[in-house]
Symmetry: C2
Subunit: 140 residues, 2 copies
DNA sequence: CAACTTCTTTAGAATGGTTCTAATTTGTTG
DNA sequence: CAACAAATTAGAACCATTCTAAAGAAGTTG
C-alpha cells in the first residue's frame, strides 16, 4: 500500500462533515493541501500562496474563514509567537515550539519530553486553558 | 521614609543617561509614569491614554519610539501573548505570565517557582534566546 | 552663548495583516 | 428541481504599528 500523500476528496469531505462543516470545493481542496503531509505550520498568507501554486482557486478571505473554522473544529491550532502574524498548526496534540526569530519558522517540540512544573494556582475564578511554551532561538 | 510613589525628574534623567538615552522632556515624564509604582504591563495605546490622563503631552508615535528604545535599553521587556497587540512589561527579571484571555490582562508568575524541564537541544546553528511560558486562563 | 550638529518629536500618511460587507454562488433538503 | 441556508468573494474598512519629512530640543565647541 503506497504511502498516503494526499487525502482524496471523499476522505476530506468526510472529515469536514464529521467536523460539522459543509464540504465545499474550497474546503475540500484546502484540507487536501493542509493535511497532505505530516505536521505543518502556516499563516493565512502562506496558505493562500500555496493554494495558488497548487492551482486551488480560493480567495484570501476564504482562507482566513477556513483557518478559523478549522481551528474552531479542532482540526488546527493557533500558535501565538509573533505579534505581527497569526500562525496555525496542523498538530493539535500536546506539544510546544521552538520559534526561530530570524526567519519566523516554527519547529515542534514533543509534549512528552518537555515539562512545566510549579505553575501557581490561577487567580480566583479562573481556570487554566492551556500552557504554552515558546523556546525562542536565533541563528548563532 | 514615605513609599516612593514617583521618580523625580533627576532620577529619571539619570536612569535615561545610564541607558544611553537623552533625557528629553517626554522620556523623563514617561519614565515617571511607567516606573512610578511596581511592576506594570502595558500597550502603546494604554501608555498614551495614561499619559494624556496625567497631563503628559506626548504623541503616540513617540510612545511607540520610547517603548522600543526602553526595550532595547533593557528597561522594558516585550511580551507576546496576543497577535492583536504588543505588550510591554516593566519587570525585566526572570518571570513568566498568566494571560487572562477574556480581557487581555497579564499577571506575573515569579520565575523561581516555575520550571521548564526537558527542552531539547535546539537545531544545529541555533542558540536559545529565551524560554517563554504563557499560562492562558479564562474566567470560569 | 553663538553657531552647529545631531537627536527627538510629531502630525499625518502609509503599511500590512486581518476582518467586514453586500452581492453572488453553491450545497442541501423536501 | 425549487427554495432556503450557508459559503465564497472582491474590495472596502479596520486598526495597531511604522514611516516620513519637517520643526524643535539637546549637546558641543570655542
Amino acid at each position: 500500500m503506497p504511502k498516503k500523500v494526499r487525502e482524496t476528496g471523499v476522505e476530506a469531505a468526510e472529515r469536514l462533515r464529521a467536523a460539522g462543516l459543509r464540504p465545499t470545493r474550497q474546503r475540500v481542496e484546502l484540507v487536501g493541501l493542509l493535511f497532505a503531509d505530516g505536521d505543518r505550520h502556516m499563516t493565512a498568507e502562506s496558505v493562500h500562496r500555496d493554494a495558488e501554486a497548487a492551482g486551488v482557486k480560493v480567495s484570501l478571505a476564504t482562507v482566513y474563514n477556513t483557518l478559523h473554522q478549522f481551528t474552531g473544529a479542532g482540526l488546527l491550532r493557533q500558535v501565538v509567537v509573533d505579534s505581527a502574524r497569526t500562525y496555525f498548526d496542523t498538530n493539535t496534540g500536546d506539544h510546544q515550539h521552538f520559534f526561530v526569530e530570524d526567519d519566523g519558522e516554527l519547529i515542534d517540540i514533543d509534549g512528552h519530553q518537555i515539562e512545566v512544573a510549579g505553575i501557581p494556582e490561577p487567580p480566583k475564578g479562573m481556570a487554566v486553558d492551556r500552557v504554552d511554551v515558546v523556546v525562542r532561538v536565533r541563528r548563532s
